[in-house]
Amino acid sequence: MSDHYIDKIFRAKLTDGTMTVPENLWKTIEPHLPSQHKRDRWGLIWFFGAGGLLISAIAAWWILTGVSESVETQSSETEVTSLTTPSSDVSSDVAANTPTQLSSSSIALAANSSSNLLSQFSPSRSSGQSKDVVPLMNTGTDVSTQNDRATPTESESTDTLDLVRKSLPAVASFSVLNSRTHFIDLRTSPMLLTYPILRKLPDPAKDCYRFGKKNSGSGGVLFAEAYAGPGFASRNLSSRSEDVSSYIISRDSTEASRLSWNAGLRLGYWHHSGITVRIGGHYTQVNELFEYFNGSSTGSIIISDTIRDAQGNIIEIRPDTILVSGQRFIKTHNRYHTIDIPLLLGYQVAHGNWTYGMHAGPVFNVAFIRKGDILAPDGKPVSISGNDANEYPAFRDKLGLSIYGSAHIGYRIGYRMWLYGEPYVHHRLNSLTLDSYPIDQRQTNIGLSVGLRVTL
């Protein structure tokens, strides 16, 4: 260090001076600041790409397993709790001419739902046929069932922090205070969140300049959100024209709401003024439990016996119809899947590590997929599954416009990443049911989404 007296004087007086920063200086700086780092952008692309695939996979799994699971449920949960003896019109000829092996090995079950019926019925049938058995080989018996439904129903780092703290006065020394100076919260400014060195900044110093608001130029930050969470669907059934109050009561008594789920991905833009815009994809699965009980149910089973000779040639095919009666209990987990595109406008503010906001807007439905059963107006259970050939025409395939509103609170958990919770209300403006269906069914979803937000 120089010890010349001029140098000393200048060094002593000019080393740590301060000056007032003109307010318009920041307006010229801010537009030139780099928006983000490419390396981080690739990381985000990978993150959200993987997240999107995961959510898509889960949604696809839910939808696809809804089919297979409902079939299994049908076999296991559709039960005939008791059966009477088969009706007297069972053909005795068939019994008399059917080989003894018939009951034990050669009945092919055509439908799972009839297995109980058949297994309980067969012993009585085979027991009465053992006398006049012709020594013929029975090679196969086709059994089909017919129920009181058209078809079987389907169911379901500290060092850095210290350094920054120590150096803040130096960084901020240009902004000597005056009454018109505005300050920036270095920890929460969306712009500055993109810089790793500032992400752990302590409480905003008073002599820091504020980007955004009145001082800033135009601009904001892009962000992406991935979320999921539980919910509850509230429904309202009303008569469309004729008085179907008893039918409404029947449906309400057989269908009960269960926990629903939602998940989604959104892209958003957060303007420095606080205004936010979000758009994305929103998936909802509404669950209901359908329970049906009929104490005097009747059904019929059609059996075709194929009789062959010793060489295996078919001698005769004899159809047989068996009527059964008993109690019938159906328990189905109904699922209503919807995929929507929300377009949300909101206001969001940051305070320290926290963000608060509200947003609302229209939601456009792109798909409505159903699995399960409901009661038809005639009181019989019918399928509402979209992939069922015998689907009862009650529901629409698309639900049109709905509205969504929510509030959220978020907490910064890392480098440009926020964890947030978002209670929401999602109301369907249109009926879920077709105009031809006598009941107008409306739905409102209430839930809580938990998600991650990342500034891009």
Partner: protein
């Protein structure tokens, strides 16, 4: 940092230009800070470099201000200089030709060596030395002029 830049600048506007460039460089290079030294020093160095870059760019446009060096008047008494305020000292610095001012700032105030200054400004060490001496002489001359006016 504005104050730092002001020492290198001829006026407030030039200082603001330097600050602007300095902050753009600072935010663009924050991820290069490796925690190996004081953050404050790293930031100062960025702003000094911005001022030097500004000097490099401007020196081609402004012919080396043909400010003649006043005849050497080696007043070894610092009394008058000591009495000058911060603003007056800044004013004196501003009146220096750009080359003198940059070298004086780097050497006398920032503590750079002539070798470092030569490297930063892409000049020879001897040039750095001579610029410094001339800067001091010119400053002293201006102080004396101020003193005469006051008297």
């Amino acid at each position: 940092m504005l104050y730092l830049c002001r020492r290198y600048a001829v006026d407030d506007n030039e200082a603001q230009d330097m600050v602007q460039e300095g902050f753009i460089r600072l935010f663009g290079n924050l991820d290069k800070f490796r925690n190996t030294g004081p953050f404050e020093g790293w930031v100062r160095r960025i702003f000094v470099n911005s001022a030097i870059k500004y000097y490099h760019r401007e020196k081609n446009h402004n012919s080396a201000a043909a400010m003649e060096v006043a005849s050497a008047f080696e007043n070894e008494e610092p009394g008058v200089l000591n009495a000058l305020s911060e603003q007056e000292l800044l004013g004196l610095l501003s009146e220096l030709p750009k080359g003198y001012r940059v070298v004086f700032n780097l050497y006398a105030i920032e503590g750079y060596s002539h070798a470092e200054i030569a490297s930063l400004l892409d000049i020879r060490e001897s040039t750095s030395r001579s610029q410094l001496v001339k800067a001091r002489k010119l400053l002293q001359t201006k102080v004396n002029e101020m003193q005469r006016v006051m008297l």
